[in-house]
């Protein structure tokens, strides 16, 4: 059953539509990422779920209860911000216990829960430190503990790793996922980083210009993009333009060479202009079969014009 339901959500500002007809159902314990470029409406959607923005139309239901017009402090939704947003005047322990203190929980319960949370984020000894005495990664872990301490129904993360350096980003990413799995908490994660979304999520919602482009598992999003935007935004692609030769077989002719798609081409007719997008990692280069495939024919060494080292792989390009 759906735990969090976002129904036909719209948010219009004076001149722009930030969120247009967003529809999403999230099951209990699911990890869903909202992925898209800056200004695609992902953060606005998250802020509407948190209650910081009110939608122009549409509804949000949490565990069957309509929370669309409920103020943020009555939603029981945990939020982690890009800028950590720890309270500078409070120690780590006070930060983590803030929500419980506001809820007037007994001091002994607060102490126990704070310890539990600090153990969860593997910082049990830092309770007495102030935020400014911590590294960025530690601060964000404390922010996560603070959001989780109140036992929220949903955890919202707004680009939580964007301000951190690459190494910390990867390790904290894994930590967030393992904590989320351990607690089984329903999580909405906003990011513009496709690698983050692909590696963390049960499902990804790709957004562009306020609209949902595609919702699917990381495998579906990466391998079966439904729109050209999703195809170009997620991963790297070689786009080759050609003409349809045989729609039923999925055959397309590009520069006199025929390639065959894995599926037939629906609604296509012979001679239609067609683009083929090929992920670079599925292309193998072979000296022996220079004439065999459309890609190999473009990759004779003498025609390579540029090569960019990208760490674990090398990106090469050629002249046509």
């Amino acid at each position: 059953m759906n735990f969090l339901e976002i129904e036909n959500l719209q948010k219009r500002f004076a001149l722009t539509t930030a969120v247009a007809h967003v529809q999403l159902e999230v099951t209990r314990g699911e990890f869903v990422s909202l992925l898209g470029p800056s200004g695609c409406g992902k953060t606005t959607t998250l802020r509407i779920i948190a209650g910081f923005e009110s939608p122009s139309s549409g509804a949000i239901r949490l565990d069957g209860v309509d929370i669309t017009h409920r103020p943020p402090h009555q939603r029981n939704v945990g939020m982690v911000f890009q800028s950590y947003a720890l309270f500078p005047n409070m120690t780590v322990a006070e930060n983590v216990g803030f929500g419980l203190k506001v809820a007037k929980k007994p001091a002994a319960d607060i102490k126990q829960r704070v310890e539990e949370m600090l153990n969860l984020i593997k910082l049990p000894a830092l309770g007495n430190r102030y935020p400014y005495q911590l590294s960025g990664g530690q601060q964000q872990r404390v922010a996560l503990a603070r959001a989780l301490a109140i036992r929220p129904q949903v955890l919202l993360l707004d680009e939580p790793l964007s301000a951190l350096d690459a190494k910390i980003r990867v390790s904290l990413r894994l930590e967030i996922r393992s904590i989320q799995r351990e607690l089984g908490i329903t999580t909405i994660y906003v990011t513009h980083d496709q690698e983050e979304a692909l590696s963390l999520s049960d499902r990804i919602v790709v957004m562009s210009e306020g609209r949902v482009e595609q919702i699917g598992s990381p495998f579906e999003i990466y391998n079966f993009p439904r729109t050209s935007f999703v195809a170009s935004f997620v991963g790297t692609l070689n786009v080759l333009r050609g003409r349809v030769a045989d729609p039923a077989r999925g055959a397309i002719v590009i520069d006199d060479q025929e390639i065959v798609a894995s599926r037939g081409l629906e609604h296509a007719r012979v001679g239609d202009a067609y683009s083929v997008a090929i992920r670079p990692e599925i292309v193998s280069l072979s000296w022996a079969r220079l004439s065999g495939s459309v890609c190999a024919s473009r990759t004779t060494p003498s025609r390579w014009t540029r090569s960019i080292t990208r760490g674990s792989y090398c990106r090469s390009g050629g002249r046509r």
Binding site: G51, G78, A85, N89
Partner: protein
């Protein structure tokens, strides 16, 4: 010595002379009550005068009330403008600057016209309500300093995100203001408070025209009738002001993540 460094030293020496020679002169003069010897007799006379203690106490109480009222007015206002009405900032800044542009004498005549004993709100009708009116007029006088100090403090923290973080943890507006915002602009509020104190303690025009027994009119009275005691009073006033500045320095030191407001 390099010419540039020499120039800098000359400026410093000139500044020190400019500020300290009159002060030293006043101090030296205040010690000359008894002919032929230096003594603190003038200070003794001033401090023994019951009106000194009464007026200083009156002005101190009024200053503290002004600070409480000013903080209660300015912190939520500046916070709300930063959070929800950033476009109103120039308008509010203009309003808070008005007391610097409009002379105190004009303000107080306005008060007397509006709140005199035959008006709809006769605040000048009794001593207590006149004290109240004087307190509100001091809030207005101190507004440019208090607002600027608090606004600078608020600009130094991420008001919006801290507010949202507190909201998501279940905090309502009063909790956010008292437990999150106010502690994080404490230093700025203190700066504003000490400046308010320094203004109120020596204010003359309003207290005099509203006929209240404040320290300012007492200072003027002594200045008009005595020779050496006014110099001693000046030095005492300086000491009070410097003590305020010293307190700002002490409170602004070593507080994590906090920035003092405008001085």
């Amino acid at each position: 010595m390099k010419p540039r460094r020499l120039g800098a030293w000359l400026v410093i020496v000139f500044g020190v002379l400019y500020f300290f020679v009159p002060l030293l002169g006043t101090f030296e003069f205040s010690l000359r009550l008894l002919r032929g010897v230096y003594s603190v007799a003038a200070y003794r006379i001033v401090l023994a005068d019951p009106r000194f203690a009464a007026t200083v106490t009156y002005s101190t109480v009024l200053a503290l009330a002004t600070i409480v009222m000013g903080v209660a007015l300015v912190v939520p206002t500046a916070y709300w403008i930063q959070l929800r009405l950033p476009r109103m900032r120039p308008v509010v800044e203009f309003i808070t600057l008005l007391p610097l542009v409009i002379p105190a004498i004009v303000l107080v005549f306005g008060y007397l016209r509006i709140y005199n004993s035959s008006s709809a709100l006769p605040l000048t009708g009794s001593a207590r309500t006149t004290d109240l009116l004087l307190m509100f007029s001091y809030v207005t006088l101190a507004l440019p300093y208090m607002y600027r100090a608090v606004d600078n403090g608020l600009r130094a923290i991420d008001v919006r995100t801290l507010t949202e973080a507190a909201q998501s943890l279940g905090a309502g507006w009063s909790t956010i203001l008292l437990r999150v915002i106010l502690p994080n602009v404490r230093v700025a509020v203190l700066s504003g408070a000490f400046l308010t104190f320094a203004i109120v303690i020596g204010e003359f025009t309003m207290a005099s025209l509203l006929d209240r027994p404040a320290f300012g009119p007492y200072l003027q009275l002594i200045g008009a009738n005595r020779a050496y005691e006014p110099a001693a009073l000046s030095i005492i006033s300086f000491a009070i002001t410097w003590a305020c500045m010293g307190l700002i320095q002490i409170f602004t030191r070593g507080v994590p993540g906090q920035v003092a407001g405008a001085h």
